[in-house]
């Protein structure tokens, strides 16, 4: 079971609407290396993890990713809120506006809707952990690109926080992979 906590993991307080930035950032909401994909990936893979450390890490990182999903949603919401139709047209976000107004919809910045095809749950802990290590690096790279695209400190700060978390998750998954390998070797299981 999950309990909701009525606060963001890291504050999002964006004062100036910026539909162009919203269009860039939304990929971390519903795109291939985004937070929804990350969360679903780890929470689905956790069932077949063989050791307690791995079950816990996938469960808890998958849970933290949901908090990041909420942060990214809050960023998109605040960036779209109060933007005029003129500003939306200027930002070339008219296509998004036609489909969703200023609603928050899990898709990439170019409008490709979220799909579970972004993730795998292989039933093989070694294969899954390697996917997760790559996923964290891809998310880190995406946040670095977004930071380059942003100029508002209100936007950059939460992006930096999210980028830093990907690095921590990568570290933890590396440790999990090592422990699983040790465990499998000790079982002489090929």
């Amino acid at each position: 079971m999950w309990i909701y906590e009525k606060k963001l993991e890291y504050p999002v307080r964006i004062k100036n609407p910026n539909p162009k930035m919203a269009k860039y950032i939304i990929t971390q909401y519903g795109g291939p290396d985004g937070e929804l994909a990350a969360s679903l990936r780890y929470l689905s893979q956790r069932y077949h993890m063989p050791i307690p450390e791995a079950k816990a890490a996938l469960n808890d990182i998958g849970t933290e990713e949901l908090a990041h999903f909420e942060m990214v949603g809050a960023m998109v919401y605040q960036l779209m809120k109060g933007a005029s139709v003129e500003e939306i047209k200027e930002a070339d976000a008219g296509g998004y506006f036609a489909d969703h107004d200023s609603g928050v919809y899990p898709s990439t910045g170019t409008g490709v809707p979220f799909t579970a095809a972004y993730i795998q749950s292989k039933g093989d802990p070694i294969a899954d952990l390697h996917e997760n290590l790559a996923a964290e690096q891809k998310a880190r790279a995406t946040y670095e690109n977004l930071i380059k695209l942003a100029d508002d400190p209100d936007v950059i700060e939460p992006l930096r926080f999210l980028r830093a978390r990907e690095i921590v998750h990568f570290q933890r998954f590396g440790e999990v992979l090592e422990k699983i390998e040790e465990y499998l070797n000790s079982k002489k299981y090929f």
Binding site: M1, I3, Y4, E5, K6, K7, L8, E9, Y10, P11, V12, R13, I14, K15, P52, E53, A56, A57, D60, I61, E64, E70, G73, A74, Y77, Q78, V168, H169, R172, E175, V176, K179
Partner: protein, 90 residues
């Protein structure tokens, strides 16, 4: 920044320590130093949360916090995605 916001930021900072230590402990379950730190921050966090909830309403629902007052305070604005920094207390 109002007092509510400041308290929430304090809670966030301490809870972040517990989140990060939690993930660390998942892969280092026998690290006594981290365990003690985790417990210390958790204690601080519980005290701050109950202080916040007494003043501003519940932080979580489903039986994890007492509803103080004569109406269901869970539904009160602001929600986390709203720009709560400008919310004034009544």
């Amino acid at each position: 920044m109002n007092a509510r916001q400041e308290l929430l930021d304090q809670i966030r900072a301490i809870e972040f320590m517990t989140v990060d230590l939690n993930l660390y402990l998942d892969t280092h379950p026998c690290d006594m130093r981290a365990l003690n730190e985790y417990n210390m921050y958790t204690q601080q966090l519980m005290a701050l949360k109950s202080q916040y909830e007494r003043q501003y309403g519940p932080l979580s629902n489903f039986g994890t916090a007492i509803n103080q007052g004569r109406s269901w305070r869970w539904i009160e604005d602001p929600w986390p995605w709203e720009q709560d920094y400008w919310m004034e207390e009544c």
